[in-house]
């Protein structure tokens, strides 16, 4: 079952890439069915465990798959985002786009259900490839593809190095889903920072974020939705199941550095979002800001902050995906993303304006939507951990968030209709259905956050760490 979970989207996506024809309905239909099928499989296989040996030397590694608590919510988010993104595809060449989206989903599913560090690193690198190709074929500038792949591959190499060193010292990499201090001694800081830098690149956090705004702006909206919503969470997920679970001592030792980096991301992202003229870049920088908050929550190791972080990871995914898809609709209709040009969508396309507004309100943390609960719980947790100054910074960023979200919406939604921009029809049923589930999920988690919060409390694995000393020698 778990194997099918990974292979189904990968095989379907590969078959699509090899097929011929450009019928949008067919590819969208297949894509949505596959994405929903993975959701069904994930629910059915929630307690499965599957393992096949891989390496016996220099350390034990297995093809070990299983679904953890946080991973389950991320998989649900991923499947939902993929289904919505596929449905939102409106390209003249949908075949490659839907195919790459499914490949992306499959590789990220593999990442989230890996129980082995080596397998985790395997998928961590693999999931770069579909995005790279989308950027190559459809990106605005080749430079964006370079930045994306070089930054993330360099991060992946550090992860690879940390994994190799971890395996050699600990004897096995089959450790995801367990908790304990796996590594200590002189090597521990090196390994920790190998993992941490890889995750901070992916998240991204200041100062490793410079690939991100270009990538998000350059990607077609549906892919940007999945990458911004879910791929950026791979690093945070790594912090939970690897850094926090296996090296809590190191996280505690370097929490100051992480908090500083998180705080800079938080403020810098918010300020940068205030001055962007490209609507997609506003969302990109807001992402930097929000994920910085999660990095801080992780660094405090405070249980409440961690639970909030788990919820906020999901909430951020939902509203980021909704915003990217919504801004994609805007771009299709107005043929520009420039805030200097866009005006008056509310008058022309009220349904689109409504969808954008709900997603935007979730982003600024309106009570009743999931973003609010996440921020509130995280900041409460930070206060409880005694970092009052950091909590103040976080609150400032929340205020700044209102400013940039309102700027974005006053710019796009309000105001008189601009006459030299084309007037197109409002959201079609298909387009509406592609964004509605994300908004409904935001509302549901806003009023019933306990579904994930309860899971967030156990986001860090509790199973005791096991070690195999039986490394075979030739």
């Amino acid at each position: 079952m778990l194997l099918a979970l990974v292979l189904l989207p990968i095989l379907a996506g590969s078959a699509m890439l090899l097929s011929r024809g450009e019928d949008r309905r067919v590819y969208r239909g297949i894509g949505v069915v596959v994405a929903l099928a993975t959701l069904a499989i994930a629910i059915a296989a929630r307690s499965d465990d599957w393992s096949v040996p891989w390496l016996r030397a220099p350390f034990v590694a297995n093809f070990h798959l299983g679904i953890g608590t946080l991973a389950f919510w991320l998989i649900a988010l991923l499947a939902l985002c993929t289904a919505c993104a596929v449905l939102a595809v409106d390209s003249a060449r949908p075949r490659a786009l839907v195919g790459q989206l499914l490949l992306l989903e499959g590789t990220m599913l593999g990442l989230f259900i890996s129980r082995d560090l080596l397998l985790f690193a395997f998928f961590y690198d693999l999931m770069l490839v579909p995005v790279f190709f989308v950027l190559l074929e459809r990106g605005e500038h080749p430079r964006d593809a370079w930045r994306y792949i070089i930054y993330n591959f360099a991060g992946g190499l550090l992860l690879l190095f940390a994994t190799a060193a971890f395996g050699v010292l600990h004897g096995t990499t089959d450790v995801i889903g367990t908790a304990g201090n796996a590594i200590s001694g002189t090597w521990a800081p090196w390994i920790f920072w190998g993992f941490a830098i890889a995750f901070l690149v992916k998240t991204p956090a200041f100062p490793l974020h410079t690939w991100m705004p270009n990538t998000y702006a350059s990607l077609p909206a549906p892919v940007a939705a999945v990458v911004g919503a879910v791929q950026s969470k791979a690093g945070l997920y790594g912090f939970f199941v690897i850094a926090l679970a296996l090296m809590p001592q190191e996280v505690a030792r370097y929490s100051g550095t992480l908090i500083v980096l998180g705080s800079i991301s938080l403020l810098y992202g918010a300020v940068a979002a205030l001055v962007q003229t490209d609507a997609k870049r506003v969302v990109a920088y807001s992402s930097l800001s929000h994920l910085g908050l999660i990095v801080i929550a992780i660094a405090t190791q405070q249980p409440l902050a961690l639970a909030g972080a788990a919820l906020y990871i999901i909430a951020h995914g939902l509203f980021t995906a909704a915003l990217f898809i919504g801004l994609g609709y805007v771009e299709e209709r107005e043929e520009t993303r420039s805030l200097a040009r866009l005006r008056g969508i509310g008058a022309k396309n009220p349904r689109l304006a409504g969808a954008l507004t709900i997603a935007g309100l979730a982003m600024l943390g309106l009570p009743g939507l999931a973003g609010f609960v996440g921020e509130l719980v995280i900041i409460t947790g930070i206060v409880q951990s005694g970092n009052i100054a950091v909590a103040v910074v976080a609150v400032i960023s929340v205020v700044l968030a209102s400013a940039y979200v309102l700027r974005l919406f006053q710019g796009i939604v309000n105001g008189p209709v601009v006459h030299d921009l084309p007037v197109r029809r409002d959201l079609s049923w298909r387009e509406g259905i592609a964004i509605a589930p994300l908004l409904l999920a935001l509302l549901y988690l806003g009023v019933n956050p306990h579904a994930v919060l309860a899971g967030g409390a156990v986001a860090i694995p509790r199973a005791p760490l096991s070690s195999t000393s039986g490394v075979s020698t030739p």
Partner: protein, 477 residues
């Protein structure tokens, strides 16, 4: 001193005899049947002979025989390195089936097979005399083969290779002479005694020997010849050199480093080699960035890849040798795969597939070949799901495990640079481009396609079933 060859063990070198005889057979048949026999017949016989050799070598797996008084040692080490040599030979022969290439006649095929004989000899050589014999047998044929194509760059390549490789051989030979002076024996095993540590002749001899090896491996700073020679030589010969020459030379280096150096001198003598390997990773990968020719690009890539393989050997641990071999085998299939794609795009001496401009817009023109090339390039960069990924992590584990952190760091930096270089080719293939060449591309000859498919399957299969060799030791007797 006793004569080294008092006992002749023909059975131990039976695979070499078969391979050499195949070369003769190809030549003779061509002489008799020339008006009737197409080149395909010569090629077919050569491939069958190589496969037969591979089977015979395979049967030696698990045995441990020292033939010629320890001059040629049959064991898992020689079997495995011999296997890579034959793999490279088969790959090169398959590329010869790309059609055209009029000068790639029966004589060429025979020379290639004899060159492979030299490489096989090196895989088992454990006295300085057999080492030199193997190196010369390998190189002499290659001098001719390099100049095969009818273009100025080919003549330049042949001359360059002849001059520089002979110089390297001379340095190597001088080192061997000094080593003989130090130990009074041609045997590599005789060097591994504590008495050698205080002997200046031993240090000088080993130094010259290692310089010669570094030359043959095209390590920085002795690397400049490789891209020029690779560019000039015909496609199949370049493929042969990047795999077979490297495999055979690494076999010699490994045997020397693991078995011939006394423990007191080993660390100090080899340190320059590890440094040079680290620099090669950077220089090779940076060198790739500016290339316009695929063969040159893969030549620079090879310089870096040899650096990776040597990094696994750093610290001369037993595990390291296993991973070095694994990566060598993986490198062989990835590299042969890339060459097979180039061959499938070429006809004869024109070698369209070797020019990087051919790859512009290839994703739209020949989607399957473009996808295959992308796959092999990403494999060389070490991305999953290819065995290049697994090979990298094993090398990292070995290098870090034996304490050479700086070498691991250089490997990471080099790999990051290399991705940029490989991805430039990929971008050319997939980025919409108006400068797409309109030349007719490709061959309908089946052999490059077969080779391509086999390399593809092997590159994926090695990821999930890493065949790490065991029982490589002892290396000398």
């Amino acid at each position: 001193m006793t004569l080294p060859f008092t006992h002749v063990d023909w059975a131990a070198i039976a695979p070499l005899e078969v391979l050499a005889a195949t070369g003769l057979l190809v030549l003779l048949l061509d002489l008799v049947l020339r008006p009737f026999a197409p080149r395909a017949l010569s090629l077919g016989i050569a491939i069958l002979g190589t496969i037969a050799t591979a089977v015979m070598i395979g049967q030696q797996y698990g045995t441990n025989v020292a033939a010629f008084n320890g001059g040629y040692i049959v064991g898992n080490f020689s079997v495995l390195f011999g296997g890579v040599v034959l793999l490279g030979t088969l790959g090169a022969l398959a590329l010869m089936g790309r059609g055209g290439g009029d000068r790639e006649s029966a004589g060429t095929i025979a020379l290639l097979l004899w060159s492979a004989c030299g490489a096989l000899l090196l895989a088992g050589a454990s006295t300085t005399m057999t080492v030199f014999l193997g190196i010369e047998l390998l190189s002499l044929s290659l001098y001719c083969l390099c100049g095969l194509a009818d273009r100025a760059s080919a003549r330049e390549a042949a001359l360059k290779y002849l001059l520089l490789s002979s110089t390297a051989s001379a340095v190597l030979l001088f080192g061997m002479a000094l080593l003989f002076g130090a130990s009074g024996s041609v045997s590599l095993a005789a060097l591994a005694t504590p008495a050698m540590v205080g002997n200046p002749l031993f240090w000088m001899g080993s130094g010259f020997f290692l310089v010669g090896i570094a030359f043959k491996l095209s390590l920085v700073p002795f690397h400049a010849w490789a891209p020029d020679v690779y560019e000039g030589a015909p496609l199949p010969i370049t493929a042969f050199m990047t795999v077979v020459t490297k495999a055979a030379t690494i076999a010699i280096f490994a045997r020397f480093a693991y078995a011939a150096l006394p423990s007191g001198a080993s660390q100090m003598l080899l340190l320059p080699i590890w440094i040079v390997a680290g620099i090669s990773m950077i220089v090779g990968n940076v060198g790739m960035l500016a290339q316009h020719d695929l063969k040159r690009l893969l030549g620079y890539s090879g310089i870096a890849q040899v650096g990776y393989i040597l990094a696994a050997l750093a610290g001369t641990t037993r595990l390291g040798l296993r991973y070095a071999f694994f990566y060598l085998a993986v490198y062989a299939v990835m590299n042969l795969g890339a060459f097979a794609v180039a061959a499938a795009l070429s006809t004869g001496d024109a070698e369209e597939g070797a020019k990087l401009e051919t790859y512009r817009g290839l994703g739209a023109r020949r989607p399957l070949l473009a996808a295959a090339m992308t796959f092999f390039l990403l494999a060389l960069a070490g991305l999953p799901p290819t065995a290049g990924f697994l090979g990298k992590i094993l090398i990292l584990a070995a290098t870090a495990g034996s304490g050479y952190l700086w070498l691991a760091a250089l490997l990471l930096v080099g790999t990051a640079i290399s991705l940029y270089a490989y991805a430039k080719v990929i971008m050319a293939m997939y980025r919409p481009d108006h400068r797409v060449r309109t030349v007719e591309l490709g061959t309908s000859a089946p052999l490059p396609w077969v080779s391509l498919a086999l390399c593809l399957v092997a590159t994926i299969a090695f990821t999930f079933y890493p065949l790490l060799p065991t029982g490589l030791f002892p290396l000398v007797k």
